[in-house]
Amino acid sequence: MRSFRQRRFGHARSEGEGSQPGTPPRSLVLALVLACASLMVLDQSGSVLDPARRAVGEVVGPAQSVTADVVRPIVEFPDRLERQDQLRADLAALEAENDDLRSKVRTSGLDRNRLAEYDGLTSAAEEIGAALVPARVIGIGASQSFSSTVTIDAGSDSGITPDLTVVNNDGLVGRVLRVTSTTATVLLIVDPDSAVGARVADDMELGFLTGRGDLGGDARLDLELVDQTVVPHKNDVVVTWGSSQGQSPYVSGVPVGEVVSVYSSVRETSQRAVVDPFVDFAALDLVGVVVPSGTRSDRAVIEADGSLR
């Protein structure tokens, strides 16, 4: 403390003489650099810093929540203007498409069988007994951090615990990393650290999906199949493999994306497929966290049968 003061005084005096004012003492530089290094090592080797993260999250989370609520109407305003005309066009297009689809279902026995399969899948989803806690994305980490994580405005008060699956109406979003009482941090599947057990829906082959780290519309996942003799086909749909009880990360049967290209690596003697995720990660907003049925929550929970509780 004393030397600190002395230095400050020293600088103040010498400032007029053009020496280096405000320069930190070497010991302080060293101490802070060492602090950074030890923090990195501590955090890398275990979960020592989780209480600190949680404490900061408890403060920052609600503030993010409030800011997001303020910003949302402003950001969505241009959309709303466009929407009027767009909705009308969309309606016409969808009606035409619907008629088309309906006639196809009537005429084709194959399609009817497929439909039955989808119904089966839906009922299977009901059998999981999972419910969804709705949440909104309130904070997104910038790409400069090279990790794809977002904050959602539901936390342990809403019945959310780490490792739960996060989905939206398009498909799999990610999993919960850690929670505070009002917010949760979600690791997106496009993160390079994310690995999802996946299954090619058409031939039930198992594999692993890893992210590439980019968020935008061209976000891609890499699929590596366990059985390396199998070649996935283009447009095959990939779903999660996961556990049915939702205990481990990722419940099963959640659609993830579709295969857009396949290439074989001679060096690694394996087939790799590139998967285009269904979810648009650049425009994430409303998501659902898959919780066990009957979870106590401070907000409405969407049960497996579609009812609101």
Partner: protein
């Protein structure tokens, strides 16, 4: 690029904004140090909220401005390397721990610490006008993001260097654009808390 007539006044103003001259600023009011700390803490908090919640709506390929870094640069420009470095360390630590961060804590702390230090040295070595401040922002943005990226390469490799460079450079452009709004506010706020800048 400004007219030669305006250059001296600008330079003079930045000096005024920046350096507190003479012992008076220290012997004067000890509470001012706390006030400055509180001001920077508030600025960092607001910057963090904007950075995580507002700017993701306007991102380019996921890259947004690093407003916290801009606040640290402004602190360094205003108060010198010592203040900038400590402010950078604290702000970086917040960035490391606040959701949705998931990288090893200490990485932004190290990066912003260096940024604060360099910004402070820039003020001492080359006290210039707007151009100088913008150059400092660009250099500091590149330096900060690069240090963060490099520690990432060491701690958990997996991202290619070309990707890193693209993201870092896009970040520099963002920071330069936003610097026009953030840096003057912080500089002015810190100047107001400096007794040596008498504006009677």
């Amino acid at each position: 690029m400004s007219a030669p007539t305006s250059t001296p006044t600008r330079t003079g103003r930045l000096r005024d904004l920046g350096a507190g001259r003479g012992p008076s600023r220290l012997t004067g009011l000890p509470g001012l140090g706390i006030a400055r700390g509180a001001f920077v803490a508030l600025a960092v908090g607001v910057a963090l909220l904007f950075q995580t919640t507002v700017f993701p709506h306007f991102h380019w390929h996921g890259v947004g401005p690093n407003l916290v870094l801009l606040v640290v640069v402004a602190s360094g420009l205003a108060r010198g390397a010592h203040f900038g470095m400590v402010a950078g360390f604290a702000a970086g630590l917040l960035l490391d721990l606040a959701p949705p961060a998931d990288h090893a804590a200490g990485r932004w702390a190290l990066a912003l610490m260096a940024v604060g230090y360099v910004a402070g040295r820039v003020r001492q070595d080359a006290p210039a006008g707007v151009g100088g401040a913008l150059a400092a922002v660009a250099a500091c943005s590149f330096l900060g993001s690069s240090i963060f990226a490099l520690t990432g390469l060491v701690l958990d490799p997996g991202v290619g260097v070309p990707d890193l460079l693209e993201v870092v450079l896009a970040g520099v452009v963002w920071d330069l654009v936003l610097a026009a709004f953030v840096v003057p506010v912080v500089l002015r706020g810190l100047a107001a808390l400096d007794p040596s800048t008498d504006r009677s």
